[in-house]
């Protein structure tokens, strides 16, 4: 078992760098303004993150242009980007697509992703759980792929798509397929519908392994993103209730709110342990990874939604408005709770893994 659940010094340094950068480049008013612009993705920020800080290649070996670190370090990036609800394609490209390509030993696309020169997306609905049936919406005929895929994350800016079809995985040039932007619940990570009108693909995996690895790793890192966002919600709320007065007292002095915030803090402390464990397992290829990821997603999906809902509620009227960041947190939180499998699907997966069958 991968039992080092703390953060190392290098990880804390990375966090410090990211937090300072995101505070400057992805403060919430800018993030909110961007949701109403034509460019959801902050390409400039992504250049700094991927090209400068090197967040896209952390888990990629050095010989493929990466940093040769692991998913543990990438998990710290997920936490910080989650905190900031930052509009960059980290999860889709640097986690899902990268994990898929690493799993199948692909070497053409990967170096470009690791260097931040290109981005890729796995062409599955963002709601796909790691244990879901292999997608069947794209058919292979000859060397051509035909079909469509709905609600793909980080797809609007992707250069390459990894398309599951016919039981394998194909790399497809983005220019070859049609993208239709989707009005999305999470405006900071809008989705996209894909149509493949008989396009050429390059087979990168002839089996299911790469896709499964991508979804499992993605779910682990998504839990870390949820952790970061939940912390942001709690901090925002705590700082509000300390300064908001009602009946001549800070509302944070009322025990009803205090107890709920204490409960939330306990849940987030647990979220840190389970998310850290899942990331550690994914990093080391631990045999316990499937259990760790299911636990992390089952727990963190609930915690992040609760944190965001309490953030709205405890802000009262202002939290219900467009001009306060709480709704950005709420929409991201609820979307992540559905992404890569809902909590109840992860519990169902767990029940098979730990021999607690439903009937």
């Amino acid at each position: 078992m991968s039992m080092d659940l703390l953060y190392g010094e290098a990880e804390e340094d990375l966090r410090g760098t990211l937090r300072a950068l995101l505070a400057e480049r992805a403060a919430w008013p800018a993030v909110l303004a961007r949701t109403e612009s034509a460019q959801w993705c902050d390409a400039g920020l992504w250049r700094v993150l991927a090209g400068g800080v090197g967040v896209a290649g952390l888990a990629v070996p050095q010989e493929l242009g990466g940093a040769g670190a692991s998913w543990r370090e990438a998990a710290v990036v997920a936490e910080e980007l989650g905190r900031a609800v930052a509009p960059v394609p980290f999860l889709g490209s640097a986690v899902l697509a990268t994990a898929a390509l690493l799993a199948c030993g692909e070497t053409q696309v990967l170096p470009g992703l690791a260097a931040g020169e290109a981005t890729a997306a796995v062409a599955v609905p963002f709601s796909t759980a790691p244990g879901a049936p292999y997608p069947a919406s794209v058919a292979v005929s000859g060397a051509l792929l035909t079909g469509q895929v709905r609600s793909v994350a980080d797809a609007l800016v992707a250069d390459v798509f990894l398309v599951p079809a016919g039981g394998g995985l194909y790399a497809v040039d983005a220019a070859a397929l049609r993208r239709t932007p989707v009005t999305s619940l999470d405006m900071t990570r809008p989705l996209c519908d894909l149509e493949l009108p008989g396009v050429a693909g390059r087979l990168v995996d002839s089996g299911e392994g790469a896709l499964r690895a991508a979804l499992v790793t993605g779910a682990a890192l998504l839990a870390c993103e949820q952790l970061g966002l939940a912390e942001r919600c709690l901090e925002t709320t705590v700082s509000y209730v300390r300064t908001r007065y009602q009946f001549a007292r800070p509302v944070g002095s009322y025990q009803g709110l205090k107890h709920r915030l204490a409960d939330l803090w306990v849940a987030i402390t647990q979220a840190r342990a389970v998310a850290r464990y899942a990331a550690g397992c994914a990093a080391s290829g631990d045999p316990d990874t499937a259990v760790a990821v299911a636990v992390a997603q089952a727990h963190c999906s609930q915690v992040v939604v609760r944190a965001a809902e309490e953030c709205v509620q405890m802000h009262g009227g202002i939290g219900f408005t467009w001009e306060h960041p709480a709704h950005l947190f709420l929409k991201r939180a609820k979307s992540t709770a559905i992404a890569l499998g809902t909590a109840d699907r992860h519990r169902a997966a767990l029940s098979a893994l730990v021999d607690l069958p439903g009937r």
Binding site: P125, F126, D186, L191, F247, A248, V305, G317, L330, A339
Partner: protein, 396 residues
């Protein structure tokens, strides 16, 4: 006409009125003004002010008779604040001149009313409000910011509470006014919600002149006058016997039945828990209605609102998990200006987001729980640190 009118008397008047005023022929506004004049607007109001001093319970019958005759109505949803909150307050505290000036156009819908109570700094603690009204010769000059004002962009009049004395404890320094929304210095801006829409407005008051004849009630008596308004707001909640699976639970139950491919055992357990909770809330509302009809009014109104908010939020949250991929999509973020909430006409994502307001608007769940704990269970109130402190000295 000062003695109360009997049920038969009311019915006869409706018949007579309809025999003399053909709704198919008369102009809509003319018809409504005539109905008001005949005392058939709100029969429990005094004669001469649209009523007959008759029992309030007859109103439903009167409305039904007019509806059967194809008469135009006064679009009650559009003028809800006027009918439900301004009118009872004007009746209770207004001068005879004010009643005669305001009540008829209010009832006919010629003049829409809105409510200028809440402020950014005074949410649950309404009495802490900071909008100032300063004496200026024969009138007042009002400056401040109000928020959560529905219909402000269509309103001609507002009921307004402002601070006229900052040197006394907060409840004692307030005065109640009617504010002409077309007066210089009144600026209305839409207030956009997390759903993308703007049901409400912010209203900025910059040195708005209000003549003293538009003051309602005594100077310094605004808190008491406002209580009448707010009590009438709460009466509106609760009510009718809805059928099983009415409301949010019916929507998700329908999806469950129609789309077996979405079902999971985990969601089933939560669905059934929420179905039971919805049915319990429904039966409780029916029991509350029966109690009210039997003259046993209770504080269950607060509980019903609280249960409704909690259920709406839980059910809409479940719905998103049930539909999975589709829940990641939204119907429309554009800034619409709806007149009312539409829980069933829009997407599941809208329901989820809009339901978040149910535990904030019209009394947060925290305040409702305080009310239940203190007024129903008799538990001691919080230690108060704002008693007997001048408003200007309160921490804010």
């Amino acid at each position: 006409m000062t003695e109360p009118v009997s049920a038969d008397g009311v019915r006869r008047r409706v018949e007579e009125f309809l025999s003399r005023h053909d709704p198919a022929v008369l102009d809509r506004l003319e018809f409504l003004r005539a109905r008001f004049g005949a005392g058939l607007a709100w029969v429990h109001f005094p004669a001469g002010l649209g009523g007959l001093d008759a029992p309030r319970t007859l109103q439903a019958e009167v409305d039904a008779a007019f509806a059967r005759a194809g008469a135009p109505d006064n679009e009650p949803r559009r003028i809800g604040i006027g009918l439900g909150m301004a009118a009872p307050t004007i009746l209770a505290y207004g001068t005879q001149d004010q009643r005669e000036r305001w009540l008829r156009p209010l009832w006919t819908g010629e003049q829409v009313w809105c409510q200028l109570f809440s402020e950014p700094g005074a949410g649950s603690d309404l009495a802490a409000l900071a909008t100032r009204a300063v004496r200026d010769g024969d009138g007042w000059v009002v400056t401040g910011q109000k928020v959560w004002t529905s219909m402000a962009h269509e309103a001609r009049w507002a009921i307004l509470v402002a601070r006229t004395d900052a040197d006394v404890p907060k409840h004692r320094g307030l005065t109640y006014f009617a504010c002409d929304m077309s007066a210089p210095g009144v600026e209305v801006r839409p207030l956009r919600q997390l759903t993308g829409e703007a049901e409400f407005n912010e209203v900025f008051l910059t040195e708005v002149a209000i003549p003293d004849c538009d003051r309602i009630g005594e100077v310094g008596d605004g808190w008491r006058v406002a209580q009448t308004t707010l009590m009438n707001e709460r009466v509106a909640i609760g009510g009718g016997a809805l059928p099983r699976e009415a409301g949010m639970i019916g929507v998700v139950a329908g999806t469950w039945r129609e789309r077996p491919e979405l079902r999971t055992p985990g969601l089933h357990e939560r669905l059934m828990e929420l179905w039971v909770a919805s049915e319990a809330a429904r039966l409780t509302a029916i029991r509350l209605g029966a109690q009210l009809a039997a003259g046993q009014p209770g504080p269950e109104g607060s509980a019903a609102k609280y249960a409704f908010a909690t259920l709406n939020q839980a059910i809409s949250g479940l719905e998103l998990e049930l539909i999975g991929e589709e829940a990641l999509r939204y119907d429309d973020w554009s800034m619409r200006r709806p007149a009312a909430v539409d829980f069933t006409g829009r997407s599941p994502g809208y329901r989820y987001l809009r339901a978040k307001g149910n535990s904030i608007e019209g009394g947060t769940t925290e305040i409702l729980r305080n009310i239940i704990a203190e007024r129903v269970l008799g538990l001691p109130g919080e230690i108060r640190v704002d008693k007997d402190v001048a408003w200007k000295d309160l921490p804010k």
